[in-house]
């Protein structure tokens, strides 16, 4: 491809107080090209695309779009120029329906009825089934992403920016997405694809630009480059894969039987007759797309939601009616998904956050008085053992980057020597080297005889750490399978690929009727 580039980024620099997000970044995207922007968290990918989309303005440097100078002051201008973006954290409104959500992202939306018709047309043309009248709050993550994509496609973009689009999708949904993106590229739309998943980039992208610490550190053609080479460019060093010796599994320590929980908010998913048997030394992976009952399962296991006593037993003691503090004393510790606000109090220091969950097991408070010396020592131990990058334990949780806070949260629980540890999305938004450390720590804990439940949407992660695997789908837990015998295909079906087909069948029946 030698013609004029569609978008050309020239020497862009953007600094925030204390950090240079982008330094002298340049690259080009050709028409019809799928261009990967690859890098760890904090490498400056998001800032860069926000500048292309007009949400942030560069300090210096310039951009040209189809040969003309391009400096969008706001997203509206970017959209009218032909740049559309699908966000990492969906920019959707749960209480509005699909058509309303799409109308909000358009410059001149047609009346609702015409819009609904166009949504149906586009969604059929690109193989993305979607009902314009449904509330977004009732949709799965994959369907929500379709809403965003269709919102972009209705504006006929020349450049489609996708920020980490596959992190919440099942393998089947990823296939559908890639099919759509290839079709778009073949029609001449350029795609800027942001990810740190190397295999995806190798499967999809024509060219790649690799960022590290705000600088372009390399460019490559993903098809001709191995994943290991790209990872080294991205991280700056080679990564060790987490591993452990094959362990014997012990007695059943945690037993969940017939667990049903009603959700606490209108868009939650009820749990239906969930049964789990967790053995000492076992890592049980629970896969599933977000919103299938993960939060409810964690809440039931941690004691935030109580259930009849017999539904959960720890070493044969019924504990379903016990609250979080009692369960902590007995050895069930949890690390929820939402770091700020659930796992950690954002405006409290790390010392205070250490106290919040470690008080009982580490004896940090005595007859109502906090032993701050011991608490500080414990926070410092977590920081040291888990390589948490922070100026000190008195910094507030909010000031840490996502990966560092996650290391602190996981470390705080693991160092309390739990009998059972439940973690939800342990490496969500964490960069590759920190993720590897966290996974290794989980394996080490299991090696010492604890039972670990890892709830995650990242299937590669579950395959890497877990002995056994089960899928959570619409609040029901599938049968437990040994991880070794699983293929991506089977997992996909367990996660709801089969379920989607069931839905389609139903629709077909309705259509006939």
């Amino acid at each position: 491809m030698t013609g004029e580039p569609l978008l050309s980024i020239n020497n862009i620099t953007k600094a925030y107080p204390g950090v240079v997000a982008n330094s002298d970044v340049s690259f080009q995207i050709q028409p019809g090209e799928v261009h990967a922007l690859l890098g760890e968290n904090g490498a400056g990918k998001s800032t860069l695309v926000k500048m292309i989309y007009g949400l942030v303005r560069p300090d210096s440097g310039s951009m040209t779009f189809r040969g003309a100078a391009y400096a969008p002051p706001e997203p509206r201008v970017a959209r009218s120029t032909g740049v559309a973006m699908v966000f990492q954290h969906f920019s959707l409104f749960e209480a509005l329906n699909v058509a309303e959500n799409i109308a909000l992202g358009m410059e001149n939306p047609p009346p609702q009825r015409d819009l609904a018709k166009r949504i149906r047309e586009v969604s059929e043309a690109y193989g993305l089934p979607l009902d314009p009248d449904r509330l977004v709050g009732d949709l799965s993550a994959g369907e929500r992403q379709r809403v965003e994509i269709i919102r972009c496609l209705l504006q006929d973009p020349k450049l489609l920016i996708m920020d980490e689009p596959t992190s919440v999708l099942t393998p089947q949904e990823v296939e559908i997405l890639f099919h759509t993106l290839r079709k778009l590229a073949a029609e001449g739309t350029s795609i800027l694809y942001i990810s740190h998943k190397l295999e995806e980039i190798r499967a999809l992208c024509d060219e790649a630009t690799i960022l590290r610490l705000g600088k372009v550190v390399g460019k490559c053609t993903p098809r001709d480059t191995s994943a290991a080479e790209m990872a080294e460019l991205m991280v700056g060093k080679s990564l060790a894969t987490p591993a452990r010796d094959n362990a014997e599994l012990g007695e059943v320590i945690l037993k969940v039987a017939g667990l049903s929980v009603e959700p606490s908010n209108p868009f939650g998913t009820p749990l239906r007759h969930v049964g789990i048997e967790l053995r000492a030394g076992e890592v049980l992976g629970i896969g599933g797309v977000a919103g299938n009952g993960q939060d409810e399962l964690l809440a039931a296991l941690s004691g935030e939601v109580t259930t009849p006593p017999g539904t959960i037993t720890l070493n044969k003691t019924p504990i379903g009616d016990k609250g979080p503090n009692e369960r902590r004393e007995m050895g069930i510790l949890c690390a929820p998904e939402e770091r700020l606000g659930h796992a950690a109090a954002p405006d409290m220091s790390l010392v205070e956050n250490a106290l919040l969950t470690a008080r009982q097991r580490k004896n940090l408070a005595d007859s109502g008085f906090v032993n701050w010396g011991a608490t500080r020592a414990y926070a410092e131990k977590v920081i040291a053992d888990f390589d948490v990058r922070t100026p000190g334990p008195d910094n507030v949780a909010r000031s840490l980057s996502g990966g560092n806070l996650q290391k602190f949260v996981i470390g705080r629980e693991i160092l309390q020597d739990p009998t059972v540890l439940v973690v939800n999305q342990p490496t969500w938004g964490v960069d590759a080297s920190a993720a590897a450390d966290i996974r290794q720590a989980i394996l080490d804990l299991a090696q010492k005889g604890a039972g670990v439940i890892v709830i995650s949407q990242d299937l590669d992660e579950l395959l890497e750490v877990s002995d056994n695997f089960a899928a959570l789908n619409e609040g029901r837990l599938s049968n437990v399978r040994t991880t070794r015998d699983l293929t991506m295909e089977t997992i996909g079906l367990m996660l709801g690929g089969a379920h989607d087909m069931h839905d389609l069948d139903e629709e077909a029946i309705h259509a006939e009727a």
Binding site: P75, R79, S91, E94, E100, L104
Partner: protein, 308 residues
């Protein structure tokens, strides 16, 4: 019941309800954009005193209404700047605004109790108001009352069926997403806050100039708080807010007549009955939690700070 004429009761009901209705419909729009302004009472009473003072001094009720709106809007703008630009806490700021409005109105109103405001002319000819039964109910009111019902209809239509309404709901539902799409969250919220202030101020001016035709310290007597409660219990639906306001006005008008008729119920119980009955009825109406949650603006009362 002895000597209570249903027609005059309905006429009184509509008049009594209108200040609450105006304040509630304004606050409904404010809350739909995700802002909780607890200063309704303060804006109402400031509107009442300013409307009254201007109407008495100029002899023009219209100028009085405009002054009421302007003063409510000015007060709401203080709230808007503090909460939207300086990111202060909405609950504390709103409460402060109410206290400020009550004090300010007492100061501005010194010397005015007992003054007579100019009479307000009705839009329909007197002959129409003399038609039996429907005449006084439909044609015997001041323009503001018709305006308040039109306003409810307009808010219902705009929120439900227009792009502007969609943007208002979107901002109240998820301000970060709205910002990411390029909508000016703060500007939209400031405009809604000012609309709410103008409505509350107009409601106050109507109360002093038309309904009571006098200025009394603290004369709103919690109507602003009832308006706030109406918005929540009406599940943020304009027609339900109208229903709630008319219910409140109806029980108020009825209990005043019962008091006058000397019925054998303690006055205190009669006086609190409108508040109690309105809240009980609306609680029952909004008891379906999941449906109410769907209509509630998810970002209500949350501080929005644009990043990136």
């Amino acid at each position: 019941m002895m000597g209570i004429d249903p027609i005059t009761l309905i006429v009184a009901l509509i008049t009594v309800s209108t200040p609450v209705l105006l304040a509630a419909i304004g606050e409904l729009v404010v809350e739909k954009t995700g802002v909780l302004n607890l200063g309704v009472e303060g804006m109402m009473i400031t509107g009442a005193v300013m409307g009254f003072v201007v109407a008495v001094n100029t002899g023009s009720p219209t100028l009085g209404f405009l002054a009421g709106m302007a003063s409510g809007m000015a007060l709401s703008l203080i709230f808007g700047v503090l909460t939207q630009m300086l990111l202060s806490n909405q609950v504390a700021t709103g409460l402060a605004l109410t206290l400020f409005g009550l004090g300010l109105s007492a100061l501005l109103g010194v010397g005015y109790p007992g003054s007579t405001p100019p009479p307000v002319s009705d839009p329909f000819p007197a002959a129409m108001a003399e038609i039996p039964v429907i005449g006084p109910i439909l044609f015997g009111h001041s323009l503001i009352i018709y305006l308040s019902v039109l306003l409810v209809a307009a808010v219902w239509y705009v929120l439900g069926y227009t792009k502007v309404g969609l943007i208002i709901r979107a901002v109240g539902e998820n301000h970060d997403a709205a910002h990411a799409l390029g909508y000016k969250v703060i500007r939209i919220r400031l405009m809604a806050i000012m609309f709410g202030g103008a409505c509350a101020g107009l409601g106050g001016a109507f109360l002093s100039v038309v309904r009571v035709q006098n200025w009394v310290d603290g004369m709103t007597a919690g109507a602003g708080w009832i308006a706030l409660a109406l918005v929540v219990f009406a599940s943020w639906k304009p027609w339900r807010a109208l229903l709630g306001a008319y219910l409140f006005g109806g029980v108020t008008a009825l209990q005043l007549r019962l008091q006058a008729a000397g019925i054998n119920i303690p006055v205190e119980i009669l006086a609190m009955s409108p508040y109690v009955i309105t809240i009980i009825v609306l609680v029952i109406m909004s008891s379906d939690k999941s449906r109410t949650a769907l209509n509630a603006p998810a970002a209500l009362g949350k501080v929005f700070h644009a990043t990136g």
